[in-house]
């Protein structure tokens, strides 16, 4: 490599690394704003701004979904397996909305653990498998749990 070319390689490397560092600092500074949603733990810890439009995300707690009399309003709990908050939503839920499923709700906090949503989005996970495999996994898991329970009894 001639000295001139080596100099150009160096310049390019300095430029790419420099831009990388700048982008790193910028993204780090905006870290909170880049989060698409707050987790229930953050909400309970008071890190989410009250009264502002925000998003919260978590898993829908089992057996917590309750429909109100009007047939459209739903109340359910979401959790990140550490803290739980309650979400109230009036409207049509996405197809993937189910207990145990991850969701993201957009709306305002009311009080400490109550969230009034105007939009609910379903979040799906990165696992793809045929229904039979999912069933087999579920059966095996339940058998395993039952086996463990029998062993401790």
């Amino acid at each position: 490599m001639t000295p001139k070319r080596r100099q150009r390689v160096l310049l390019i490397a300095v430029m790419v690394i420099g831009v990388g560092i700048a982008a790193g600092f910028a993204l780090n500074a905006f870290n909170e704003n880049l989060m698409f949603f707050y987790t229930p733990s953050k909400v309970v810890a008071g890190e989410a701004p009250a009264g502002h439009l925000i998003r919260v995300g978590g898993l829908v707690t089992k057996d917590s979904v309750k429909r109100q009399q009007d047939g459209l309003t739903v109340v359910f709990d979401i959790t990140d397996n550490a803290e739980t908050i309650q979400v109230q939503y009036t409207g049509i839920l996405p197809d993937l909305f189910r207990e145990g499923q991850g969701i993201v709700a957009h709306g305002r906090l009311q009080g400490d653990r109550m969230f009034v949503a105007d939009e609910v989005l379903a979040k799906h996970d990165e696992n793809y498998m045929p229904p039979e495999v999912a069933d087999a996994l579920k059966t095996a898991h339940e058998a395993g749990v039952a086996g463990k329970a029998a062993a401790t009894n």
Binding site: L27, D125, Y128
Partner: protein, 246 residues
């Protein structure tokens, strides 16, 4: 031997001939892989346990998104080579790739939007993954516009190479966005250190389609590069010989 090969490939005349004979093979292979991938993906592969049939849009969306990043990395590599060694062919590769990369990015965004509506409940959300991919589309469009704005092709190629290298930081941001921040978009399924979180009967058509998209890029970029080469070299002896021999 390698050195010799690269020197030959960098010669416009030799490249023009080799590329011309490669194109039909690459295009044929692309067609075969596309047909096999679509048949396997739309017909043989089972529905998903959670998303039912709609997950099949993945066989277009995921390869398009991979290619949108792959093409950019190729452009950045070619741009760096062009800047350091001033090889004309590297410059041509950068600008010939840009419209293809932009199309893949557009396809990834549109197919993702069509997937998002039934699954998430929204066409578009401003989460980190989607926004970074949209920035990638603007980068591609900016590169095309910058190249078009400068008359002298060598100057244009250098400006474009620098812009491409500045934007390359967006590629790791796109890839890791789903791990660094909370996003609505789910995490990586195939490109992770753990074993892929996808059943083998769905992974095979996905990989078939990924190969098909790669082959598509390969033959279209060669076609575009040949065309660009003829335009640039229109005064060279070998082009005149080529025209006269026809």
């Amino acid at each position: 031997m390698f050195n010799n090969f690269f020197h030959k490939m960098a010669s416009p005349k030799y490249f023009y001939r080799i590329a011309g004979s490669l194109i039909p093979w690459l295009a044929g292979a692309c067609l075969l892989f596309t047909l096999a991938g679509l048949y396997y993906g739309l017909y043989l592969a089972p529905p998903d346990y959670q998303q039912g049939e709609s997950y099949r849009i993945m066989f277009i969306h995921v390869p398009a998104a991979w290619m949108s990043m792959f093409v950019y990395v190729v452009m950045a590599g070619a741009g760096a080579i062009g800047l350091v060694w001033r090889i004309k062919l590297a410059e041509i590769m950068v600008i010939s790739s840009a419209p293809i990369g932009a199309s893949f990015t557009f396809l990834a965004l549109v197919s993702g939007s069509l997937w998002g509506k039934p699954m998430w409940g929204a066409w578009w959300v401003w989460d980190a993954r989607l926004t970074a991919e949209l920035i990638l589309l603007f980068l591609y469009l900016g590169i095309i516009a910058l190249h078009g704005a400068i008359e002298d092709r060598r100057t244009a190629a250098r400006a474009v190479a620098i812009l491409t290298l500045v934007g390359v930081i967006n590629i790791p941001i796109i890839h890791f966005s789903v791990e660094w921040w909370n996003t609505l978009h789910q995490g990586p399924t195939v490109t992770r250190f753990d074993k892929p979180a996808i059943h083998i009967s769905m992974l095979i058509p996905l990989l078939l389609m990924a190969v098909a998209f790669k082959l598509y890029y390969a033959f279209v970029v060669l076609m575009r590069a040949r065309c660009e080469l003829l335009e640039r070299e229109s005064n060279a002896g070998w082009v005149r010989e080529l025209v006269e021999s026809k």
